[in-house]
Symmetry: C2
Subunit: 352 residues, 2 copies
């Protein structure tokens, strides 16, 4: 009869490529069960969006075959428990991820919405907070114009805002509380108060990831969030255009300031090129080439991905569903890869 | 001998198509001189960027030929004196024009820079103030990275900032006073103080037009300028994308508020379509079609023009010269037309 020790010995040869340690040392192997014909166990990853998931499962099967028994059946339950640094957790929200850009109009909200949904599609409990006070685009991108969140009483008598759920994620936007035809001519202190309400007075429940879509710039919203909430890291979105890169750099500089100190999870290059349907071989680098890549190199930050200028992305957002909800769209795969890389960076941050 | 009265009688049949009155009633005819062989006079328009300039000159020649003498030589000196509403003038700045967008990244700074230069090319004394505190792009667009304005003492002992001159216009940007690699994590009151310095402590001299490039949104900068300075009107820049239009609408709503009340000069649609060099007949409406036009119709505002997504516009800005400085570029003509329409709208505002 095969023993649990034999199984663990075999799996101690399987290394997590991100953490550079074996699964047993990392305490990722749970619930080992052995019957005469079958070995079952659970691998608990640090995120359901782990890009190495298939690779690790495959390596586990090989290790059992090689070190234990070539013929025995193997059932592996791949699960995850999202990690969080204890000092970086807000109530039940394990990881707050900021999506920022410096310059506006580079597709920050599109990336934030698709990133949040991609994390959910990978199995994570996810929320999306639209903190772009002056130009909230979440209601339109999720087809929720005119929606109004409900308020509920908690057991201790406090009133809580209920985030709206759509496509499986929890959503809040300042746009749910304002008339879309009216401007929000608010000075800084009012903006800060509104942001705090969306964080503190909302019933987010248990979340693995709360993605926050920041306004452009480096102003009151950024300072308020950085000073009041434990942020796990920031994703920077830029186009390859020099003027966008210059502003992205300012955004990065802000996160790196001693008084703010938010880890940079990586850089997404959006509107990288345009390809007309009639000329599928051609890539038109309308805003220049590789600007985002060079920015990532300069700051020694991960380059998370390159997204082309595609009408369907813009159309999807305008029509109330972020594109990643359409799995037939080739670009959806790119967003899933970006989400995996973000989740991977967070797990690495927590492990270090 | 022809009399001055005969000349003025003839010219009283020439109507200014914008003001719907004749040139004599409008007091636009100056310095009439008559010799046996030649009639000379000056037509003083309300802006050097008058789109009707050629039309009016032609109509004057026809009127003289028809009502006075078919054979006599006619010399017309077309000049202008830019108008300003007395309560809308700041020191020697006749017209403050805001360029706003609601959403960032729609090409607001590109439009502001090319609009200012186009007004100058038409003969107006023009300044450009980059009020985009968090993402100043003027230094890069004008090839002035690292430039520092000089300070000078006025006769009453005050220190004045000297705007930098390039391509014939006066320029100031918060970017001239900050390190481009550093973020500007400023809360509202500091932003307002910086904006007031750029307006009040700068030696702008005599200007027909001061174009102000606003940050995206409807925040501290907008409120500070609207409450403290006599603004002649605002130009709204948008892309045809719904999310951009929604934010543009918020911007318009702000200008229309009773407490702000800034006239809308019109709407510019940017990134309207893309045309690859290999398919010059094709227009790819990547962000949707005619969104800016529909917005203009909705608010009964002039549609000032439609600009395609062109690599040379982006390249020019990245390389230190706004595209309108290159008169061989076909798109430069579009910017000149937009500038004429803006100047025309201002003249009409002042006349009403």
């Amino acid at each position: 009869m095969i023993t649990k020790e034999q199984v663990l010995h075999a799996l101690s040869f399987v290394e997590d490529p991100d953490f550079k340690k074996d699964l047993v040392t990392l305490n990722m192997i749970k619930d080992v069960e052995i019957t005469p014909n079958r070995i079952s166990f659970t691998v608990e990853l640090t995120t359901p969006a782990c890009p190495m998931k298939d690779h690790i499962e495959h390596a586990c099967r090989n290790a059992i075959a090689h070190f234990v028994d070539k013929e025995i059946g193997v059932s592996i339950n791949m699960t995850s428990r999202v990690m969080s640094k204890p000092d970086k957790q807000l109530d039940n929200i394990k990881n707050i991820i900021l999506v920022a850009s410096g310059k506006g109009g580079v597709g920050k909200s599109t990336v934030a919405a698709n990133l949040a949904l991609a994390l959910q599609l990978k199995g994570a409990k996810t929320g999306l907070l639209d903190a772009d006070i002056y130009g909230p685009s979440l209601p339109m991108m999720f087809g929720l114009e005119g929606a109004r969140p409900k308020a509920s009483k908690t057991s201790d008598g406090k009133t809580k805002i209920e985030p709206i759920e759509k496509f499986g994620i929890k959503l809040l936007s300042i746009g749910f509380f304002t008339d879309p035809n009216q401007a929000i001519p608010w000075r800084g202190p009012m903006v800060s108060a509104a942001i705090k309400q969306l964080f503190n007075d909302a019933d987010w429940g248990d979340l693995d990831y709360l993605v926050v879509d920041l306004p452009p710039g480096t102003g009151d919203v950024h300072i308020t969030i950085a000073q009041n909430y434990p942020v796990a890291g920031a994703v920077i979105v830029t186009t390859p255009q020099n003027v966008a890169l210059a502003d992205a750099q300012k955004g990065i500089a802000m996160f790196m300031m001693d008084t703010i100190d938010i880890p940079l999870l990586g850089i997404v290059e959006n509107m990288a090129y345009f390809t007309p349907a009639e000329l599928p071989e051609n890539k038109y680098y309308i805003f220049g080439k590789d600007g985002g890549k060079h920015l990532a190199e300069k700051f020694n930050a991960p380059f998370l991905g390159e997204l082309p200028l595609i009408k369907s992305i813009s159309d999807a957002g305008d029509n109330g569903y972020p594109i990643v909800t359409d799995e037939d769209e080739p670009i959806s795969k790119e967003f899933l890869i970006i989400a995996e890389r973000v989740a991977q960076q967070l797990s690495l941050q927590h492990a270090n």
